[in-house]
Symmetry: C2
Subunit: 250 residues, 2 copies
Amino acid sequence: MNETNVALSIQDSPFARKLLAFVRLSDADLAIMSDLYRRRRRFAVGVDMIHQGQTDQCAYVLASGWACSYKLLPGGGRQIVDIQIPGDFLGLRSILFRTSDHNVEPITPVQASEVRQRDLIAAFSQTPRLATAVLWAASRDEAMVVEHLVDLGRRTATERTAHFLLELGARLRLVGLGDRKGFLCPLSQYRLADTLGLSAVHVNRVLRELREEGLVTFQKGRVVFDDFDALVEMSGFDRAYLDHEGPLLI
Amino acid sequence: MNETNVALSIQDSPFARKLLAFVRLSDADLAIMSDLYRRRRRFAVGVDMIHQGQTDQCAYVLASGWACSYKLLPGGGRQIVDIQIPGDFLGLRSILFRTSDHNVEPITPVQASEVRQRDLIAAFSQTPRLATAVLWAASRDEAMVVEHLVDLGRRTATERTAHFLLELGARLRLVGLGDRKGFLCPLSQYRLADTLGLSAVHVNRVLRELREEGLVTFQKGRVVFDDFDALVEMSGFDRAYLDHEGPLLI
DNA sequence: CGTAGCTTTGATGTAGGTCAAGAAATGTGG
DNA sequence: CCACATTTCTTGACCTACATCAAAGCTACG
């Protein structure tokens, strides 16, 4: 396969799609990105991809499937920090810290590309544009964690659930996995509860309420926005933090 | 002032102290860091340093005083995302995103060094070691935001408060502003409430409870750890995410 | 076709919120 | 150094959002 073909095929990956939505990347940039994509691995549901406290972890880019990163608590509970969808980086921090501070669990069967520290650094020195784009994507993820924190700290269970579903929808749209109508969602109500800091029972009640009010329907692995605008309104959703212009490129 | 003197004086800054606790930096690295420190500015309490939605913000390194970054909610409430203490970077994300997604408010009178995007990039290309050190510090801050998220999602008000005070203590110790006994803390109970996702009234009750149980005393602008080990135990505090080895340097 | 994981619902308990009001600090101008 | 204003702290009474417990109906998959 010559360089142009590589660039063409990588362009359809969710990772490239996400970055390209905000940054122009040359064929050369894409070819380097494609190199990072080489070491493909599969993960089955039920076995964590990354373990808290374990050292010498590597990072991944999610090619297909969903995963989530979470922290376990002494008491036995857990808090899901972030849901990862195709195109997301995963464990980027554990490249800098030698040991991971959280677990990552596949929610569905996952295909992911292993990214070694040395490869990433090599790629970065070859193409600063790609480096900036990746850093920018990482910052965007961090902005979402912050928004999640606000969810937990200051929004009611209903607002929080609505807000989370809207954000997830916006992220999925960016990689072509959903639209303004809704998206396929493999999350169980248990996992939703661990994400939203609620009990599974209460999540169920909140979902029923949202459904009965004609706002969103989450059933049978599918989220449908019945009244998008009303949902945005009631949850205080502000797309600003997702809609930033692209990074200031070097 | 020659280069050695510059390096000697910058070494005492909280910023350098923090990085030097984990990374060896040469005199040349420190001289470059010192350049970043040049544009000193002062901020009075009551006027935000950075405004949500405002564009072309710059970043700062806190030289003295405390600040906090927060998000406002449509309903009028707010959530404090992070407390910044001397040595902390502030608004690093708004260098990548052209517009800031949160506010930053001084808690005490603040002295901070303005860091321009171009200067930072120039510094980074001159000394990759410094670049890695800064990225690593940023990752460490992100790890703290994650821990904060876990606080809000899955810990009781008491655990959460204890955990937060322990973490703050650990951070302050790193820059020489506290020890295992305690630290000076200019936070009001209102701000503590906005940080912990609680009401001010409840924060007050929790603090009383912690005091009466002989765990921590927070009074008159001073936090005293009355029983450090018991506090660590009850809050499930795990220093791992703060005690990482330094970054893997290039 | 059985068993394990989800979803749904009801009944009851509790952590933490809200309202209210007084007491201490802290700051400000004279 | 004092009088006054403002913020901050403290406590009590009451209320609500969400947790917990329990149990039944679904779904799905080996």
